[in-house]
Amino acid sequence: MNFDAASFDPMSFNPQAVRAEFPLLMLADPLLHYLDNAATPQIHRSAMEAMADHDMFQRANIMRGTHHLAEAATAAYEEARAQAARFLNAATPDEVVFTAGTTAALNLVAHSFGDTLRPGDEVMLSLAEHHSNLVPWQLLRQRRGIVLKFLPLTADGRIDLAALAGMLTPRCRLVALTHCSNVTGAITDVATVVAAARGVGARVLLDGAQQVQHGPVDVQALDIDFYAFSGHKCFGPNGIGVLWARGEILEAMPPFLVGGGMVGEVTPEGSTFARPPQRFEAGTPPIAEAVGLGTVLAWLSTLPWQAIRAHENELLRRLLAGLRQRSDIRILGPVDLEARQPVVSFDIAGLHPHDVCQVLDRHGVALRGGHHCAQPLIRHFGLDGANRASIAMYTTHADIDALLDGLDDVVAVLR
């Protein structure tokens, strides 16, 4: 599918028009107010169509096949890789490894790059991490005897980077942080992290799961070493994601999952392994999903992000103001618009998030309640769980108002 970038005015954005490109939003109950975008935004029509077209007209396994369908499938898969490289401004598509998602990408790094670490080497995390950027490192600590360090948090839940310089040592091999918190929406100050990490020779990894639905990423400008994200977090398919890493780092990493497609020569005595990215893509990958992801990344790359940002911030301002009017609500995380994405978690005094979300569902408001796979961060706020509203480009004022209007009923029903 071709997207005409010229058709977008960079200074204007019409959320109603873009909603029409999301089939579920058009077909669902008109009273649906979908505010669970941090968990999974809706899938864009282009991705659905690209996957269906691929499986209808060019389904075959990739690589090695010489028939025309295999060649077409391989070309489509590699074009998706090239598109992901363009979305990330990677130096070359060979730096893009397709994975099952962010979690799989982070596990890949923890196993493969992790296998190059020695006992006593340090990995720096923070207390704001999603479990996917925490548990793999805990298991690496068990396997390799590494040391995990956790950056503390500020009162409003941001990663306290003032503590970074004092915690880094020459034994630190990796600083692995979220690019954007899935609970507070806070964006990490990557430049500060990179400057400090370079000072001790440590690599920098960003968990980009929450960032990618808000626009393309420039890994070269960020000057980082690893970036991970999921297709389903950026209006694309489930079951596909990306690990980007600098070419020289991937070259030095041993394989993790092994099997077909990632080897050179195999004998009973042993095997040699393919170069990246194939070294890290054992078995038949989710080909149609990769094609769908490539298509949606192409679409995302054409959008007027400055105008989308303004739209999302307008809704975010409205949401924050509405929540702050209520004395029984406590917002977790930043309450301003600075350096954050439109993800807002909040607690209603005495009301459990699951009950809150259940009642809001009657108003058509799809919210998420729980620990959001970030238990250390939630505990930082003294809670077991929280309510989370997350805004996407297609969110409207009516969605925000439905949430705010529903809160009175929540209190009436539950108290």
Partner: protein, 141 residues
């Protein structure tokens, strides 16, 4: 039978908090959590002469979970473990839509609307599963 999930009987049970707090002299204890939602319960049971005589619990959970824990502490003391097991089966059948109104004790009926919300079954069942685990431990000793 009301189909309101948060009907007054459920809210009253949760608010009453029967059995809140740990038992000083417990025959057995169990600690369970629901990884999907973060509900947690630490539950103690005291058995005397083959009967459950007291239940105490520290429950951090949603209204349904707290109501279920409160129901246990209110309704179960005085019965044998087998009778609790029967109530547990009735609740399961109720949530699975496999029970008729007349086949379930009346005090469990306020939990009936939760059957329409599969994601909430674990909330209601968590205290029952904790008590079952504690009883298994107690009878194994």
């Amino acid at each position: 039978m009301s189909e309101e999930l948060y009907q007054q009987a459920i809210k009253d049970l949760a608010r009453a908090g029967h059995g809140s707090g740990r038992l000083a002299a417990a025959s057995a204890s169990a600690r369970l959590d629901n990884p999907l939602c973060g509900d947690r319960i630490a539950l103690d049971v005291r058995l005397e002469h083959g009967k459950i005589v007291a239940i105490g619990h520290d429950t951090r959970g949603c209204l349904l979970c707290r109501a279920a824990a409160s129901w246990l502490a209110s309704e179960v003391p005085g019965v044998a473990p087998e009778q609790f097991a029967a109530a547990h089966r009735e609740l399961l059948a109720l949530l699975q839509g496999a029970a008729t109104e007349s086949s379930v004790r009346a005090s469990l009926l306020p939990f009936s609307p939760a059957r329409e919300h599969k994601s909430r079954h674990g909330c209601v069942l968590l205290p029952f599963e904790a008590l079952q685990r504690a009883l298994t431990e107690a009878t194994a000793d």
